[in-house]
């Protein structure tokens, strides 16, 4: 009985705040409080009309896609090297690459700002954020892809070369299909991290705010809050969709490689 109560409390703690999002997104009042007013969809309609929000959303999507692809490519190279070769200082080097994982983001943000402005003298733009997000996504990509490479027999690529393929086509024809679930997972995680990353984006965004930075700016205007709720609702929906998609991909990958399903993130 107490266990059941504990589980219910646990789930409430996890999901109640998120459940409130759609509740107030459809509430016809600018005040975020109970009791609820009439049902409305006007906040969603309003979403379509706010140009600044569209710009911010576009910025965020662009930054997320570019930086997660870059991070996955770089992570792929590093994870492959780590799985395939033995070289002096490998452990230390891999540790260095993984460091941004535990570094406080505020430190990364401040030091990047100093580097970009003072040292390089670049103007702040979407591309500075892309560079920063690539940096923080790489450790995640490597961690995920390391796992994918660990399950891979190193002689598979050699066998492809032995059968006439060059190193690149062997990689493309054999390795890529087999680590595809890892690549998808890496892209997905990187995308999510970049999309909702606030601190670094806040420091480096200049005149091109990302979605989180834009939302933070909106909080100064209480009347706009329901629109933020509507936006949040859509984002939650998109996340669930993305997760389901990723899980379907993962299960397919597992089945294709003939491995036993040991459970994914769902």
């Amino acid at each position: 009985m107490t266990l059941r109560a504990y589980v219910i409390a646990y789930l409430l703690f996890l999901y109640a705040p998120i459940a409130l999002l759609p509740l107030f997104a459809f509430n016809d009042s600018t005040i975020i409080a109970f009791p609820l007013d009439a049902f409305t969809t006007r906040w969603f309609a309003e979403l379509w009309t706010v140009e600044a929000l569209h710009a911010a959303l576009w910025n965020s999507l662009l930054i997320a896609v570019v930086s997660t692809v870059l991070a996955t490519l770089l992570g792929l190279a590093a994870a492959r090297a780590a799985a395939k070769y033995r070289f002096p200082g490998k452990r230390g080097l891999m540790g260095m690459i993984m460091l941004p994982l535990i570094l406080p983001e505020i430190i990364v943000a401040v030091s990047l700002l100093v580097v970009v402005i003072q040292v390089l003298g670049w103007p702040l733009s979407r591309w500075t954020i892309v560079a920063a997000h690539t940096l923080i996504c790489i450790p995640f990509s490597i961690a995920i892809l390391n796992g994918a490479f660990q399950n891979l027999d190193a002689s598979l690529e050699e066998a492809a070369v032995d059968l006439g393929e060059n190193r690149w086509s062997a990689f493309r024809l054999v390795t890529v299909p087999l680590i595809a679930p890892g690549i998808v997972a890496s892209l997905l995680v990187g995308f999510t991290i970049s999309l909702d990353e606030f601190i670094i984006a806040f420091f480096l965004s200049g005149a091109e705010p990302t979605l989180p930075v834009y939302i933070w700016g909106l909080l100064r205007f209480p009347a706009r809050l329901p629109v933020v709720m509507a936006l949040g609702t859509l984002l939650v929906l998109a996340s669930i969709l993305l997760l389901v998609l990723a899980e379907i991909m993962r299960r397919r990958g597992v089945a294709r490689a003939g491995l036993k399903d040991k459970g994914g993130f769902l």
């Binding site: 002689s155 059968l163 087999l178």
Partner: protein, 349 residues
């Protein structure tokens, strides 16, 4: 003409000297084995031929062509990997057809037939549509063979191909590999640590220790006349007794005197179990020595006896074929041991 010619191959990994002055000529159509304990350089040598490893110095030539600078995918060799390296995301047929992708000389429309023939040859007809991961170890091995042989390489390289199979399957594949090799007429180079595998399948064997070829020859020559004690110990079962050579005779501890020419001084005398006989009452032999059965191991077809001899702590191993008329002797039984001086192998110590 030799199909594979290795000249003074040296290979270093940093400080580690993996291959030391290896020179071999392998004839067209030969079944050649590289035999040695793990770490002796046999796999490195195979990978050198395949093009996966560069040599530090020396020459590799295949079919008369110098291979320096020729990458693995352009060499006329194919390999069966120890893990078989079957592509798990492809069907059996696609695995077998994989190497045909890059072969412009083979018309597209004949490929399906070639795949079918290759599967037929290894006894996997009808398996084409199966997923590779649904196969057993023995079947994977056959797919790996078909995948390599379909390309008609000049040389097929096999890296410990039977080590992952259970005993029954291993024995079956031994004879099958031999049959396949005769059938296709392609030169096979096999790497193995299993001397029985090497002996049963090969035309010729090179025994390797510490990066060097210790002895090369037919299975029979290697078994009967190992040139060094290390080779004698590695191939087959052998008991070593201490001996002392002087003026054309060797005094062997436990056994007695034998007329064998050997350099004077302390020697090690190797005795194969099957060259000895436990004499039945009334039976006689060229030389006889009395001993006692210390222990025995019954194998069904054979019994291996450990015989205690007077004057030595070394137990001499004797193998006897089991017959219905011959009782298996119990430990403690007094026996007469029959032996021949010619069967003794004498090594300087």
């Amino acid at each position: 003409m030799s199909i594979v010619s290795l000249r003074n191959i040296e290979k270093y990994y940093g400080e580690y000297h993996a291959l030391r002055d290896v020179s071999v000529d392998i004839a067209q159509g030969e079944f050649f084995s590289l035999l040695g304990p793990s770490g002796c350089g046999k796999t490195t040598l195979l990978r050198t031929i395949a093009g996966f490893e560069d040599v530090t110095s020396g020459e590799v030539a295949i079919a008369g062509q110098e291979m320096a600078g020729v990458p693995a995918n352009r060499r006329p060799t194919n390999m069966v990997f120890q893990s078989y390296a079957i592509f798990p995301h492809l069907s059996v047929a696609k695995n077998v057809a994989f190497g045909l992708r890059r072969r412009a000389d083979i018309p597209k429309q004949s490929r399906a037939t070639l795949v079918e023939d290759a599967l037929n040859m290894v006894g996997l007809d009808g398996y084409g549509a199966r997923r590779a991961h649904a196969l057993s170890g023995g079947q994977r091995q056959r797919v790996a063979l078909a995948r390599a042989l379909i390309l008609k390489p000049k040389v097929l390289l096999l890296d410990e191909p039977l080590s992952a199979l259970d005993k029954k399957m291993r024995e079956q594949m031994q004879s099958e590999l031999r049959r396949l090799q005769r059938h296709v007429g392609i030169t096979f180079i096999l790497v193995t640590h299993d001397q029985e595998e090497a002996l049963t399948m090969s035309d010729r064997i090179a025994v390797m220790f510490e990066g060097r070829i210790a002895q090369m020859g037919s299975p029979e020559a290697l078994y009967r006349r190992p040139e060094t004690r290390a080779v004698a110990e590695f191939i087959g079962m052998m008991t070593f007794l201490e001996g002392r050579a002087a003026s054309g005779t060797v005094e062997v501890e436990g056994l007695g005197r034998a007329e064998i020419a050997a350099p004077e001084g302390a020697v090690a005398v190797g005795v194969r179990p099957e060259t000895l006989t436990l004499l039945a009452p009334g039976e006689t032999a060229a030389r006889e020595t009395a001993g006692t059965v210390a222990d025995r191991a019954y194998y069904g077809d054979m019994t291996y006896y450990d015989i205690a001899l007077p004057g030595t702590d070394t137990r001499l191993t004797v193998s006897m074929k089991n017959r219905l008329s011959r009782a298996v002797l119990e430990p403690g039984t007094e026996v007469r041991l029959g032996w021949e001086p010619d069967a003794l192998l004498v090594y300087a110590t």
